[in-house]
């Protein structure tokens, strides 16, 4: 007995050691890859943050190590950005414009998504596909004729032009996401409410919308990100500096012909990038969830 048990135990030990090694290797590779990925994605911003605090004499010397402070750090260029340029005006423009775009998107998109997901009509399917296709029509195809419509609406050179135009791409993508969230809510919940005496409309407003709230928040973040990032419409429709959003305002003010205010540019990018990515990351899981539901059962 003892003679047989000994090799078995040794085999088991060897196997255990082997699997443990494998496990450690796997963990090590995972951490290594995660760090490399994070570094590749974030390096330009991290390095931009260092650049933003450099003195001109430090920055404009090709022999200086660009990753270290060869001269003392300075806040001058960051202060310049906030005090001497309309950066805060750009942020304010982006915020209120984004807010209105999100409001329009939800007011129009929520009922549309509900109609497509729940009020089953024969045309629901084709209509859902049609609305999603609109998201694929790019600004670069529409901006020339859109600029004429903006002129007809008398909105040229005003941030309001963007408030009107941006929902054309935020509504389709939001309907797609909301459609996904709605599918994940059991129909019984509304039906119970209707048995209890609510009309369809009341059930939607008082029961479905509160349950969907986390999904709605994810859509708000996503639509705002899209509106804040857009470049072409903002460039083509809004030329007065004080009306510009961040995406076109910062490059216009801090790049004057061949003169680049590099440190201030980097500071502006860093502030905007970190703020948006932070908020987006909070809702990433919900966004992923909504995307799957829309895709899997669309």
């Amino acid at each position: 007995m003892a003679l047989e048990a000994e090799p078995v135990r040794r085999d088991a030990d060897r196997l255990r050691a082997k699997y443990h090694r494998r496990y450690l290797m796997g963990r090590f590779t995972l951490y290594l890859l995660a760090i490399i990925a994070a570094f590749c994605c974030a390096a330009p911003f991290l390095w931009g943050a260092i650049t933003a605090l450099k003195l001109n004499g430090d920055l404009y010397n090709p022999n200086n190590n660009p990753f270290l402070f060869n001269q003392p750090a300075t806040m001058d260029h960051v202060l310049f950005l906030f005090q001497e340029t309309p950066f805060l005006t750009f942020i304010w423009n982006t915020l209120w414009m984004g807010f209105l775009v999100v409001v329009i998107t939800l007011v129009l998109g929520l009922p549309a998504a509900y109609a497509l997901a729940r009020l089953e009509r024969p045309w629901s399917g084709p209509m859902a596909i049609g609305i999603f296709f609109v998201y694929l029509v790019p600004p670069s195809l529409l901006f020339l004729s859109m600029s004429r419509i903006v002129v007809w609406l008398n909105l040229q050179d005003s941030t309001w032009a963007l408030v009107v135009v941006y929902p054309t791409f935020t509504i389709p993508v939001s309907v797609w996401l909301l459609f996904g969230f709605l599918r994940s809510i059991p129909k019984d919940i509304e039906q119970q409410a209707m048995v209890d005496g609510y009309s369809r409309l009341q059930a939607f407003v008082r029961v479905v919308i509160p349950i969907m709230f986390p999904g709605i928040v994810a859509v708000i973040v996503f639509a705002f990100t899209l509106a804040a990032s857009e470049f072409l419409y903002a460039l083509a429709f809004v030329s007065p500096t004080v009306e510009k959003p961040v995406s076109t305002g910062v490059p216009t003010v801090l790049i004057r012909g061949d003169v680049f205010f590099w440190q201030s540019l980097q500071a502006a990018t860093f502030v905007v990038a970190v703020a948006i990515a932070f908020v987006f990351n909070l809702f990433l899981d919900r966004f992923v969830h909504g995307f799957t539901m829309g895709a899997v059962k669309g």
Binding site: G26, L30, A34, I35, A37, A38, C41, A42, F45, G48, P66, F67, L108, P111, A112, Y114, L119, R121, I131, F133, L136, V137, S140, L141, L142, F143, L144, S145, M146, I149, P167, T168, K187, Q191, M194, V195, S199, R200, L201, Q202, T225, S229, E230, F231, S247, T248, P251, L265, A268, T269, V272, A273, F278, N281, F287, H289, F291, T292, A295, V296
Partner: protein, 324 residues
């Protein structure tokens, strides 16, 4: 149940309806409600997407310009002029080269990245935050950051290459102390591809994560119990299951690259000598900066048939996801 109430009523005599005693209000008439709910979105989209779209087609066959906005039919004149311009052909070729290479890189890197992001490890929140940065930052601003990274004199990439002995006199990359990333046609195109890939990989990873999250856990466990190793599970279970979602991510990446003009506009302005010009940026230069709206519209219209094909492909792959 609610959706089939009318059918129930027609089939079962006598009609048993919970609401038979109540007055039917607008809030209960589903057909009317469906239209009421959808109509605002449809009107908005028809007004601001469909009308500009047909207007763009109209412009492409006209002589409308910023100086003379009156509409005169001009037939195929804009197309003849576009075809006669060598820059148009360069733009068309660049658009395809940049899109195809970016697309391939985004899919490969995005799949790897998504597999990392769904795993459990310490500091996941921070890693995800850093990984999201390229995509959530307004593209014009992140392109400006890259413009500085690729600067002709102060590029830190050049500095590192000089330090490790790849750049400078008697080294692999030539006698000059700088690469001039955006100054040489081939390198400038490569730079545009690099920036496009960098900004779209996170988006692709997020979309593919959605596919990975949808795979039932027991499937993976069953394979593990049967003794399948990591690579076997990866290639024989995970990969086939996420293929449809990967296809969606691919096409999103392709469309975003294909139609983007911001990266080219900020990094190279289409230069050197139009060697990085793409259709979208060329349409912008002609249509807005040059004021020749009709010519710009004709160029931009070239994007459409290809996008339509891409959209049909997306739809097909989304249909396949349904089987999952």
């Amino acid at each position: 149940m609610a959706g089939t109430l009318e059918d129930d009523a027609s089939q079962d005599a006598p009609p048993v309806s919970v609401r038979s005693s109540k007055r039917i209000t607008l809030g209960d008439r589903e057909g009317a409600l469906a239209w009421l709910f959808l109509l605002p979105s449809v009107v908005y989209i028809v007004g601001l997407v469909a009308i500009p779209f047909f207007l763009a087609i109209g412009f492409a066959f006209s002589d409308v310009s910023a100086g003379d906005p009156s509409y005169d039919f001009a037939g195929l004149r804009n197309y003849r002029r576009a075809f006669a311009d060598p820059v148009f052909w360069t733009s068309l070729r660049n658009t395809f080269v940049i899109t195809v290479i970016t697309m391939i890189l985004v899919v490969v890197l995005g799949t790897i990245l998504s597999n990392i992001l769904v795993a459990d490890f310490r500091g996941k929140w921070v890693v995800r935050f850093l990984v999201l940065l390229p995509w959530t930052t307004p593209v014009s601003l992140s392109s400006v950051t890259w413009l500085w990274l690729l600067d002709s004199i102060y590029s830190p990439i050049d500095w590192v290459m000089r330090e490790v002995g790849l750049l400078g006199p008697d080294t692999l990359f030539g006698p000059t102390g700088n690469m001039y990333w955006l100054g040489k046609p081939g390198l400038a195109t490569a730079s545009v591809i690099m920036v496009q890939t960098w900004r779209l990989v996170p988006l692709a990873a997020v979309i593919i994560m959605a596919g990975l999250a949808a795979i039932p856990d027991d499937l993976d466990e069953a394979a593990r119990v049967d003794g399948a190793g990591f690579w076997r599970r990866m290639f024989e279970i995970t990969t086939p299951l996420i293929m449809p979602v990967v296809a969606v991510a691919t096409l999103f990446a392709a469309i975003f690259t294909f139609t983007d003009m911001a990266v080219v506009y900020v990094l190279t302005r289409g230069g050197p000598t139009n060697s990085t010009q793409v259709l979208a940026s060329w349409a912008y230069y002609k249509g807005i900066e040059g004021g020749d709206i009709a010519q710009g519209a004709a160029i931009a219209l070239f994007l459409f048939p290809i996008l339509l094909a891409a959209a049909v492909a997306i739809l097909r792959s989304v249909r396949k996801v349904e089987v999952l």
